[in-house]
C-alpha cells in the first residue's frame, strides 16, 4: 500500500517543473533557520529526532485512550483543547525554527539571482519546503491519536468519519493560522521597515513569538464543562485564545458545539481568513519588492553602535569569558532562541507571581514562594549551562587555543563566574523583588539567601567535567542526546528542589534548623567546588574543532595494481 502510494507520489511530483523540484529539495534541507541552529548541525537527523518524538507522543496518547477510555458521557472538551494546544505548540516551534526561511535572503538572491529562475518559482519552492515540514509535524503528532480519538469520542456521538474529518480539518486550519500569522507578521515587517531594521526587529519578534507560544500552551487553563465555557469570567480568554477558537471550530464541524459558543467558532473562520489574506499578500509583495533590496543592502553597517565600555567582570580571563558569553547570548539567534525556551518558563512563573504582587494582599511565606523560585533557579542555571554547550563558531576556536596561557582551573573559574552572573544573579534579584509580597520579610529574604546558595550548588553541578570554554563545543543538534541528558538532569534537580523546599519551609520557622540547612547547603557547594577544582587541575581544555583529519585516497588510477608501489597499495581503499 505504502509502495503504491509512494509510486503515485513520485509520478505526481515528476510532473512538477524540474526547477521547482530541485529548489524544493535544497530548501527542504535548509528549511530550519540556519541561524537558529549550529551550522555544524545535522539537520535531517535533528528533524528525524523531532518527528520521532512527535510519533512517540501520538502513540502514547492513542494507547492511553484505547486502553483507558474515558467513561461514557464524560466531558471530553478539555482533552480536545489540550490536543489542539499541543498541535499549536508544535507548529509554533516549527514556525520559530523556520523563521525567515520563507523569505528570500541574501544568499538566495546572490546564488539564484544570476540563474534563469523566476522569483515566483523560488517562492513556491520555499513554501512547499515549509509546508512539507509542517505536514510531517502534523502527521507525526496526530497519525495515531486522531484515529484513537475518532474511535473513542466519535463513534458514540456523530460517527467515526465525521469526527475524523472535523479533527483533521481543524488541525490543518489551526496550523495554517499559526504559520500564516507568523508569515504575515514578518511580511508586513519586511515591507514597512528597512532591511537592516527588519533583521534587528525580526530577531526580537522571533523571541516574542516563541515566548507567547510557550506561555500560551503552559499557562492556559482548560475549560472542561459547558458551565465553565459559558462563564463570563472566561469570556476574554475565549475571545482572544486561538486554541479556543479552533476548539469551537472543531465542535462546530463535528456538530457538537453549543449554540452559545457559535461566536467563538466564527472567530476562527474570521481569523483564518484574515491571516491567509495577510500572509499571502505580504509574501507576494515581499518577493516583488524586497528581493532587489536584499541584494543592494550593504554588508557592513557602519553606523552600528555598541554598548560603550562594559564593566570588567573579574580578572582579565573571567572578564573575557563572561563578556564573550554575554555577547554570544545577546547576539546569536541560535543561543537566544535556545535560552528563550528555558527563560520563557522562568518568566511565565515570575509573571504569575508578579500578578499576585500587585493584585492580592501580602501573604505568609509558603511553598508559593519557595517552589516557584527554586524551579526558576533550576531552569535558569541548567538552561544556561545547556546553551553554553551550543557552539557558536567551531572554526574560530583556534584563537582560544593559541591564547590559552593559563591552567584549566582558571577557565573553569571563568565559566563559573559567567553562570553565576547570568544564571544565579538575575533569579536572586527577581526573587528578592517577588519576595516583597510575602510576610514576614525576614523569612522571605532568608529564602532568597538560601536560593543563592542553591544556585551555587546548581552551578557546581553544571560544571562537573565541563572542561570547555562556553560556546566552543559539544552539543550539535542532531548529533548528541543532549535533550535526554538535559531533561534527566532537570528532573533530578526538580526532585532535589522539592525536597529542599519542603525542608526549608519548616526550617524558616526555626532559627537553629535554618542555620543547619544553610551550613549543610554551603558544605555541599564547597565540596562540589573543591571537587571541580581538583578535577580541573588534571584536566585539559577540550575544543570541538579538533576533528580527526582524514585523507582518503580513492584508488582511482590508470595503472594496474601490480604497477603501484607497495606502500600505495596498502593505503589505497578498495
Amino acid at each position: 500500500m505504502l509502495k503504491v502510494f509512494g509510486l503515485l507520489f513520485d509520478r505526481w511530483t515528476e510532473r512538477l517543473p524540474l526547477q521547482l523540484r530541485v529548489l524544493h529539495r535544497q530548501f527542504l534541507l535548509r528549511v530550519v533557520d540556519l541561524e537558529a541552529l549550529s551550522i555544524e548541525a545535522d539537520i535531517p537527523s535533528y528533524l528525524g529526532q523531532f518527528a520521532g518524538i512527535l510519533i512517540m507522543i501520538s502513540l502514547c496518547h492513542a494507547f492511553g485512550l484505547m486502553v483507558f477510555p474515558p467513561p461514557p458521557f464524560a466531558e471530553t472538551w478539555g482533552y480536545e483543547q489540550a490536543r489542539i494546544a499541543d498541535m499549536q505548540l508544535v507548529i509554533g516551534l516549527c514556525s520559530v525554527l523556520m523563521w525567515d526561511t520563507t523569505f528570500p535572503d541574501k544568499r538566495d538572491a546572490m546564488l539564484l539571482g544570476p540563474l534563469p529562475i523566476l522569483p515566483h518559482m523560488i517562492l513556491f519552492a520555499k513554501m512547499a519546503a515549509s509546508a512539507s515540514v509542517l505536514a510531517v509535524g502534523i502527521l507525526a503528532l496526530n497519525f495515531a491519536s486522531s484515529g484513537a480519538m475518532s474511535i473513542v469520542f466519535g463513534l458514540p456521538s456523530n460517527g467515526f468519519f465525521r469526527f475524523f474529518f472535523a479533527w483533521w480539518f481543524t488541525l490543518t486550519a489551526a496550523s495554517a493560522f499559526l504559520y500564516g500569522a507568523v508569515l504575515a507578521i514578518q511580511g508586513f515587517g519586511a515591507l514597512l521597515l528597512s532591511r537592516r531594521m527588519f533583521l534587528r526587529v525580526s530577531a526580537v519578534l522571533q523571541l516574542a513569538a516563541f515566548g507567547t507560544i510557550l506561555a500560551g500552551r503552559f499557562l492556559q487553563p482548560w475549560l472542561n464543562t459547558f458551565s465553565e465555557l459559558t462563564n463570563p469570567a472566561y469570556r476574554a480568554l475565549l475571545a482572544w485564545s486561538p486554541t479556543f477558537w479552533f476548539f469551537a471550530l472543531f465542535n462546530h464541524i463535528n456538530g457538537t458545539l453549543p449554540r452559545e459558543l457559535q461566536w467563538v467558532a466564527n472567530r476562527a473562520w474570521l481569523a483564518l481568513a484574515l491571516v491567509l489574506v495577510g500572509s499571502v499578500s505580504s509574501l507576494a509583495l515581499c518577493y516583488l519588492r524586497t528581493m532587489k533590496n536584499t541584494v543592494e543592502q550593504p554588508d557592513l553597517d557602519p553606523a552600528a553602535s555598541s554598548i560603550g565600555s562594559l564593566p570588567r567582570l573579574g580578572n582579565s580571563l573571567q572578564s573575557a569569558i563572561a563578556l564573550f558569553c554575554f555577547r554570544s547570548i545577546t547576539r546569536s539567534r541560535q543561543h537566544r532562541v535556545a535560552l528563550a525556551f528555558y527563560w520563557s518558563i522562568v518568566f511565565a512563573i515570575a509573571l504569575s507571581m508578579a500578578r499576585d504582587l500587585f493584585t492580592n494582599p501580602p501573604e505568609p511565606v509558603s511553598l508559593g514562594l519557595i517552589m516557584p523560585t527554586i524551579i526558576m533557579m533550576s531552569f535558569a542555571v541548567v538552561g544556561l549551562r545547556g546553551v553554553f554547550s551550543l557552539p557558536i563558531s567551531l572554526k574560530a576556536n583556534w584563537m582560544l587555543r593559541i591564547t590559552q596561557l593559563r591552567p584549566t582551573t582558571d577557565y573553569i573559574a571563568a565559566t563559573r563566574r559567567s553562570l553565576q552572573l547570568f544564571g544565579v544573579l538575575p533569579i536572586v534579584l527577581l526573587s528578592a523583588a517577588l519576595g516583597l509580597h510575602f510576610r514576614p520579610l525576614t523569612h522571605a529574604y532568608q529564602h532568597v539567601a538560601f536560593l543563592a546558595i542553591f544556585g551555587c550548588i546548581l552551578v557546581e553541578l553544571s560544571l562537573i567535567h565541563f572542561d570547555k570554554v562556553p560556546f566552543t563545543c559539544s552539543f550539535i543538534p542532531g548529533k548528541t542526546n543532549f535533550q535526554v541528558i538535559f531533561w534527566g538532569a532537570a528532573f533530578v534537580f526538580l526532585i532535589l528542589g522539592l525536597l529542599f523546599g519542603a525542608y526549608e519551609l519548616q526550617s524558616l520557622k526555626d532559627a537553629h534548623q535554618y542555620v543547619f540547612l544553610m551550613a549543610f547547603c554551603m558544605a555541599i557547594a564547597i565540596g562540589l567546588w573543591i571537587f571541580n577544582r581538583l578535577h580541573a587541575r588534571t584536566a585539559a581544555l577540550y575544543y570541538d574543532e579538533v576533528i580527526p583529519e582524514v585523507i582518503t585516497r580513492l584508488g582511482i588510477t590508470l595503472l594496474p595494481p601490480s604497477a603501484l608501489p607497495e606502500e600505495t597499495k596498502l593505503k589505497t581503499l578498495p
Binding site: P298, D299, L300, D301, P302, A304, S305, S306, R312, S316, L317, S319, A320, L323, F324, R327, S328, R331, S332, I392, S393, K395, A396, W398, M399, L400, R401, I402, T403, Q404, L405, R406, E549, V550, I551, T552, R553, K571
Partner: protein, 254 residues
C-alpha cells in the same frame, strides 16, 4: 631561532609533511612556499601547536616548544590561512577579548587596539559586526590580533590573502620592519613576487618534502634561473600550464 628537525605529519598513515627540517633566524624573513596541498599550512599549524606532529621536533632558541608551551604561546603571533573569527563580535571586541586572554593590561591593550584599528583603517567600523567584514578587513583583524602582544615569533599563513594593494604594501613593509627589529618571521604565500622582494631566504615544499632551502640569490645562481617564479615552477609545478589551459577551454567548447 625557530628550528624544525625532521618534522612529519601523517593523516591516516598518509604523509602530509614528510621529514621537514629547516630553521628561521631572528632578523630574517623566511618565505615558506609550495603548491596547494604541499603541507605548508600543516607545518605552520604544527609550529603553532594547533596540531601535533607525528614525528620530529620543533625548537625555539634550542628548546622543544612542548617543554613550556605556555611561555612559547606568549612569544608567538599567528595569522591563519582562513580568516575564521567570531562573527558576532565587533573588531574592537574581538581584539579586546584576545588581549584579555593574553593578559595584557587593559590600558596598554586599549591603546594598542585603538592605534592598530586606526592604522589599519578599521577604526570607523569598530562597532560593526565582523560578520559584515570583507575578507581583507578580516585579514587586518587577524594581523592586529597576531601582533598586539609584540611577539618574538611571527607566523603568517598567506597573510596577503584578500588585502587591497595599499594594505598589502603596508604589510610587506611591516614584515620587513618586524624582521629588522629582531623577530623571527616565517610566512607562507603564493605571491612569488612579494616573497622574492622581502624574503631573506625561502623554503620550498613539494609533496610534503623540502625541495629547496636557501637564499633566493643563491638559488638563482645554483639553478641558473632568473626569477623565483622560474625556480618554483621548475621545482614544484608538474603540469604544462599552457596545455592544461587549452584543454580546459576545449572541454567547455565540446
Amino acid at each position: 631561532m625557530l628550528e624544525l628537525r625532521r618534522v612529519s605529519k601523517h593523516f591516516s598513515g598518509i604523509p602530509a609533511v614528510d621529514d621537514v627540517s629547516f630553521s628561521a633566524l631572528p632578523g630574517q624573513v623566511t618565505g615558506y612556499l609550495g603548491p596547494n596541498g604541499s603541507g605548508k599550512s600543516t607545518t605552520i599549524k604544527m609550529i603553532t601547536a594547533l596540531i601535533e606532529m607525528t614525528a620530529g621536533q620543533i625548537l625555539v632558541d634550542g628548546k622543544p616548544i612542548d617543554d613550556d608551551l605556555i611561555s612559547y604561546k606568549r612569544r608567538m603571533g599567528y595569522v591563519p590561512e582562513e580568516p575564521h573569527l567570531y562573527n558576532h563580535l565587533s573588531d574592537a571586541e574581538y581584539l579586546t577579548m584576545v588581549a584579555d586572554l593574553r593578559g595584557l593590561a587593559p590600558r596598554i591593550a586599549g591603546e594598542r587596539i585603538d592605534g592598530m584599528l586606526r592604522l589599519l583603517s578599521l577604526y570607523d567600523d569598530r562597532h560593526a559586526g565582523i560578520a559584515g567584514y570583507s575578507k581583507g578587513m578580516r585579514q587586518k583583524v587577524l594581523i592586529a590580533a597576531a601582533l598586539m602582544h609584540n611577539p618574538d615569533l611571527v607566523l603568517l599563513d598567506e597573510p596577503f590573502s584578500g588585502l587591497d594593494v595599499g594594505s598589502a604594501l603596508v604589510l610587506r613593509s611591516l614584515i620587513t620592519e618586524l624582521a629588522t627589529r629582531g623577530k623571527v618571521v616565517l610566512f607562507s604565500s603564493h605571491e612569488l613576487d612579494t616573497v622574492e622582494r622581502i624574503s631573506d631566504r625561502v623554503v620550498i615544499l613539494h609533496h610534503g618534502k623540502v625541495v629547496a632551502d636557501d637564499s633566493i640569490a643563491r638559488l638563482r645562481t645554483l639553478m641558473e634561473l632568473p626569477t623565483l617564479e622560474a625556480i618554483f615552477s621548475q621545482l614544484a609545478v608538474e603540469h604544462d600550464t599552457d596545455s592544461m589551459a587549452r584543454q580546459l577551454a576545449d572541454l567547455i567548447r565540446a
